[in-house]
């Protein structure tokens, strides 16, 4: 692939594979995946269940390392980093949003949002101010002293989004963020993503819902661990046109 703008890309994935060994058998979850994502993009990763979306997400989020291939994040080769270095990368570059929210149940919304700042070593006072500001962004400042079990599903996901935003990472990684929400609440969250995209954030969204992917400016379709389509969200999600070969573009 001829990518002149390599340096400007936030994410550069080259021929990544991820092989799991299960009872002597090899499961090839990713079989040579390549693409780039620029700053400010909103990209959906779609595909059927078992196509490798979550595996890719974990690699992009530096929770997992590829078996082979090269992954450059914000100019740094993270595919060979140590565990401690990856922890720092996760803290500084990535904001996770999970399908099951993954809030700490015994801590308040505020404390949950503060967590990434704790691991960055930010003093308590500044932490609190920044976490409050992040909660304001998701319109939850009035709920900041509530525990997750006192919040609705949509509110929990907004707390999680505030937590992902608070440390100002290079990108937000969301794995089926609306999967556990009813459609109206899901719509709220999608609108929030659209706003965040408007504000210049880089968003990578894993979903199996074509309708959701169709609203993203760009989508990458995985099938059996390979990229089978990469192009405008509507086209890739709804299977219109031949978007696979458009991958090199953008």
């Amino acid at each position: 692939m001829s990518d002149g703008g390599n340096a400007s890309k936030l994410i550069e994935v080259q021929d990544i594979t991820r092989v799991f060994h299960v009872g002597g058998e090899e499961v090839r979850a990713l079989r040579g995946v390549s693409f780039g994502i620029s700053r400010g993009e909103w990209v959906a990763i779609i595909g059927q269940s078992g196509s490798g979306k979550s595996t890719l997400m974990n690699v992009l989020g530096c929770l997992d390392t590829p078996s082979s291939g090269r992954y450059t994040l914000n100019g740094k080769d993270v595919s060979r980093m140590s565990d401690d270095e990856l922890a720092v990368i996760r803290n500084e570059e990535i904001g996770f949003i999970f399908q099951t929210f993954q809030l700490l149940p015994r801590e308040t919304a505020l404390a949950n949002v503060e967590l990434p700042l704790v691991y960055r070593g930010i003093p308590a006072r500044e932490r609190k101010a920044r976490a409050t500001a992040a909660l304001e962004k998701v319109q939850l400042a009035h709920r900041m002293h509530h525990r997750p079990n006192e919040l609705s599903g949509g509110q929990r996901q907004r707390v999680a989004i505030a937590r992902a935003l608070v440390a100002e990472p290079s990108m937000l990684l969301a794995d089926e963020p609306t999967g556990n929400l009813d459609s109206a609440t899901g719509e709220e969250i999608v609108r929030l993503f659209a706003e965040l995209h408007q504000a210049g954030n880089t968003l990578v969204l894993v979903t199996h819902e074509p309708k959701l992917a169709a609203r993203c400016p760009r989508a990458i379709r995985l099938s059996d661990g390979e990229v089978v389509a990469d192009g405008p969200g509507r086209e890739v999600a709804l299977g219109i046109g031949q978007s696979v070969m458009a991958a090199g573009g953008t």
């Binding site: 989020g61 929770l63 565990d83 922890a87 500084e92 993954q102 704790v118 691991y119 960055r120 070593g121």
Partner: protein, 414 residues
Amino acid sequence: MKLKLPQGVRVDVVEGARIAVFSLKANRLRTVLTTMGIGIGVATLLAIVGIIQGLNTSFHRQLATFGANTIYVSKFPWIIKGDWWMYRNRKDITLDQVERLRHAAPFLTALSPSVQRVSDVEHGGEQLSTVRIQGVTQEYLAISGYEVTAGRFLTEADDETTRPVAVIGTEVADGLFPGISPLGRTIRVDNRTFQVVGTLSRKGKVLNQSMDLVVFIPFKTFYSSFGKGRRIEIAMAVEDASKLKQAEDQLVGILRRIRSTPPGQPDDFSINKPEAMAQTYEQLTGALYGVAVGVGLITLLVGGIGIMNIMLVSVRERTREIGVRRALGARKRTIVFQFLMEAASVSAVGGLLGTTVGLGTAKVVSLITPLAADVQAGTVAGGVGFAALVGLLFGIWPAARAANLDPVEALRYE
């Protein structure tokens, strides 16, 4: 930012401590109760060690007052091993035997027969109860280690003429003659009158018995006043402690001859040495010490395994939390620290409770038994600190397990 510690370490310590406190405040009663075992183990260990050490030092101090060069021969041994009535069948020691021994054993530097009873002693309106009345001869002074502080000790003439004279210990002097000199005054013991001719130096307590609540009277005066039915003990001294062993061997032969013990029969008398008593005592407390330490260590081991178990449960319960923290940027060692701090502080609280309970028990024991439990603040601090240390030690494995969880797996854990 005014950082004192490197940032990473500061995060580990501050956040670890915060989570530990959080865990304590949350529903962790179960955990604290589990770790109480450790506290109790630590407390009993410390208390027993303290008691034994206290006993040892005081016993040594007390024995020092007896003199290391003394031997006492009696019908019953000081420390009875086996059946008491075995000794009962022995022949009594007679005054005649004492005299024959005196002549047969020139290596003794002092020898005195000794008989005693316990009585009330009065002077004027004052009365002292359970005073040891002891009949001895002149040479007893050198053997006993008392010193005469005023007047004189008993003499040979006192004994031969059965004079009603007495030399008294400090507690008797202070109790009956507060503020005045007892010399020349009289005391009454069971309706018999004795004139005080001397007072003795303070000797303190031996095995919780005062050595100063004592009245010495001439041996023969004792016989004529209180009858001859009492058991005679023979108190002896040799030149110095190095001669003790040799003297003992010779004494056995002489005594057997004097008492015509048939050959082949065991000795029908007991030779007691304060020196040997110290050794017996040390063996006894040494064994106790060993048992206490053993029991304490086993308790600690059991308690430690309890902590390990509860921490493994805690790690499992919080697998997802660990995954979340790792995803948000916690390093492995931050997680290790979190669980170590939790293990240590939970154990410390358990230790505090356990130490309180343990020492409370020791206190009760000391109230209802003669054991002197010495409850010190240092013991409590030691108990808490030691419990925390054990918690730390047994928390290492669970903490390492927590840190080594795969973040992806942890996040997926149900």
